[in-house]
Symmetry: C4
């Protein structure tokens, strides 16, 4: 596995769109996901895709400006094709939660869904986290990937070994 | 069944009204409901009603401006009469969550309540979703309707058949 | 029982205070509580107290401006005395959720706590709702009071009888 | 035990960061934690640390301006060292929820995690609260500390004894 591609809403957030009279104004991101991705990114290329056009700039603020990852606007209906054009599908781990994500999950090498994902996504995913989106689902997914595909034995050992080398690099809350 | 009429607060949202010193300023909508309604709307006429006058413009931003559905201001106490004046009650599926929605549920052809609805609404509803409002309750209701009344076998087949015809039409997140 | 006195935060809300860099800016109120109180207020005098000075104007916007009830600023430590000075304690039903509310619950005629209240409050309360604050706890409490103290048999009958007399009065969402 | 050091996000809040297009704009604090800390502070020195640089001013508004406690910006990766430089580690009770907090928990005299903490933090903590962060986890932790380390028998007695001496001091909601 070389590429970890994640959906944003419902995966990095609880899926909620907070509306004012001006429209979609807030999204709610959660703890530890950024930290866990910081560990995983030494092993895999990580990027995000979202189908949310109206909320794109909110997601971009978190994913790109604050966390430093690439974010692309890709409709769920066209995700499989989009991934296929760029990567070997078998090299891709995809994490999504939506009603149409089953289309992507059928195609990629490995798929992950958060606990509160759409039922079809949960049935289809290779791994379902115990935590919900925006509440450590991505953190849990990262540790699962590190153990399953990269032989991580103990998070503590991993943290301690890294701590000596690059203290301060992590922790983009 | 020809008409699907949905309440907004507690059905499309988690029921919460976020208040600042200015009053009601935010509501929280959820994932997949818009996508699932996009599938169902080929089979049924879909519209929304709300009793929330002060929060009407917030709901309208989401339901009408962003999702494209009609939204009418109708007190729960007068919903049965309002529906009756426009439609044959037996042709209507109603989804609501409130303490007075039992009045509507008694009258329409088929009724649905989200998991976190008022107890009386839950007892009276023909179908109760496993998910709560603002967390895929409407998405689940749409799939239930498609299976029960329109013989949908597999969501994946439905998605794939449509994908060829109108790629890009869905996905108003 | 003549007086129903309710705490606001954690009872009418989920207890959360949303902070920006400006301080406390949002609270989250829920569905049905306003409707259920509208039924109960024909039987009892209803008022609210809060210990939240900094968030008082947010609570006041909801409780007084939008719902029409009196709201007083009373520290939990002085609530028992405050109630005692105004009313016969035995005539009062109190609903609260906090760590100090046990002091009030010991003194009043009847006490109610939402499902997510402080443990001591839950142990002491005469009735604990199944729903949490900001998610129909007050609505559930109102129906409990109507059944226990005023012999309500069926909410539906009550609604129907009132519907004829004062259509449109309820429904301050 | 002389010092109680608490993380902020996920401990005093539910861990959520609410983003607008401007970035991180809101955090959600909960009930009773401020009141319970007011009791504990007569027995222990209490201070807060956070790794959240971008949200520091939001946390500071709640923790320092409204509640009156010291708040320091300390990366989770450097927390153990930071504590060690200031205090005897054995005198410190630490409460944290994050993926890296296991490093701190290994070092201090006693550690506490909220119910929704990272799995490793939960496994390592000496005490895990039943409540989640932002929903009385800190209040529960305070009562646990008072009972375990200071022989508190009954919260009610404690409240009543204090009530006579310093009425009005508590209750910074």
């Amino acid at each position: 596995m070389k590429f970890f591609i994640l959906d944003v809403d419902g995966v990095m957030t609880n899926g909620n769109f907070y509306y004012s009279v001006e429209g979609k104004v807030l999204k709610s991101f959660g703890p530890d996901d950024s930290d866990a991705l910081s560990i995983l990114k030494k092993y895999m290329s990580i990027e995000f895709i979202t189908g949310d056009k109206k909320g794109f700039n909110i997601s971009k603020k978190r994913i790109t400006d604050d966390m430093g990852y690439k974010l692309s606007l890709v409709s769920t209906m066209r995700r499989k094709e989009w991934i296929q054009e760029k990567y070997n599908l078998n090299d891709v781990i995809y994490m999504g939660d939506g009603i149409f994500d089953v289309l992507v999950m059928n195609a990629v090498g490995y798929s992950i869904a958060p606990a509160n994902a759409d039922k079809n996504a949960i049935d289809k995913a290779d791994f379902v986290t115990e935590r919900i989106g925006g509440n450590r689902a991505v953190s849990e997914a990262c540790l699962h990937i590190l153990k399953k595909f990269y032989g991580l034995q103990s998070l503590e050992d991993e943290i301690n070994s890294r701590n000596k080398l690059d203290t301060g690099e992590w922790n983009i809350c």
